[in-house]
Symmetry: C2
DNA sequence: GCCTTTTTATAACATGTGTTATCATTTTAC
DNA sequence: GTAAAATGATAACACATGTTATAAAAAGGC
């Protein structure tokens, strides 16, 4: 019968995600990926129709990567949106290439920014619910304003224009929440 | 003596800036630029040492382009930072490629985001001064918070996640100012 | 052990990049 | 008019990209 495969799809995908994380999506090329996976370019095109197909799977994985990051992020306050903001801003600074790929892409493979952050667990919906519980009448509008602020800090973190200690970020977000409330 | 030049540095630079504006800095390649300037690649390398030198001049020009945009932006309110915010957000939506090049580059040829927005005219300093005049004790901190918010809206505008009518943007910025104040 | 089938590496093709060499054209001093 | 010098088009070089063709290697049925 046939020769046994020595380079699995999983191994290629894992190498691709590492490469994406380290050097950004535009560096995930067939030959660079082959080098990272210690193989030729051929196995890549055996398991993926083309590089675009791989990119789309990487995008899905990158979204999940953020959602897992947030899921594991320790909650330090009960103030709505603050924990989400802390995680999002810290994520942008720690995983610049992933953040750029997911949240600064022009099209995002059809997904909206809110869909991605919300995830299957409804991370945004939860926070809005929490704000309502804490007496906010216009929690949706409150989220919108908080999110603009949070996204701003994250994007500045990306370019090195925001670099506050975690504690100050938390205080800043708490302040913002109470300002907007 | 020498042959008279038919393709000036100015013509090349102008074509390069148009190309940058329309398709982004990564599309400003020697051959594409030659096509936009209706010449071969040769005149480009006569007037620029290499493409990197052109890119640096384009960056300078792009900064001035933003500053001119803001200078021409009609002032609709006396609330500090609001006009600057309106202009910055609208600029991001109207000139995505330029905004990306100037404000989302990782290094910005050594210039800080604040230096660029401030410009020779001290656009930021003026607003901070104005806030002080209007009774704000901590105008610098107020600017920082406003700017995070403004930059957030601009970056969302870039990716199509922010698209409010101008009047609502103004109200949002005014609200934010009074919230943070 | 041969045959078939799949996997993989090597190498190729077509295209795009920055940059440079070659050479015809043009301009002007003489 | 001739010579010198700069300009600019054509074409080349070296390299990187996605993708595909070729062929060697391997695995198992017979």
């Amino acid at each position: 019968m046939a020769r046994k495969e020595s380079i699995t799809k999983e191994a290629i995908f894992q190498a691709a995600f590492e490469l994406l994380k380290e050097e950004g999506i535009e560096q995930v090329t067939a030959r660079k990926l082959a080098a990272w996976a210690n193989c030729s370019t051929q196995p890549i095109f055996r398991v993926y129709k083309n590089m675009e197909e791989l990119t789309e799977e990487l995008f899905e994985k990158a979204c999940e990567f953020f959602q897992d990051y947030y899921a594991d992020f320790p909650r330090q306050t009960v103030t709505p949106f603050v924990n989400l903001g802390q995680a999002y801003i810290k994520f942008a600074g720690e995983h610049k290439k992933i953040f750029e790929f997911v949240f600064l892409s022009p099209e995002r493979f059809g997904k909206s920014m809110y869909d991605i952050v919300n995830g299957d667990e409804g991370y945004i919906s939860r926070e809005i619910q929490s704000a309502k519980t804490q007496g906010s009448r216009n929690a949706g509008e409150l989220f919108t304003r908080m999110w603009i602020f949070i996204h701003g800090a994250a994007c500045m973190s990306l370019t090195g224009d925001y670099d506050l200690p975690d504690a100050e970020t938390m205080q800043l977000l708490k302040d913002s929440y109470h300002s907007f409330k």
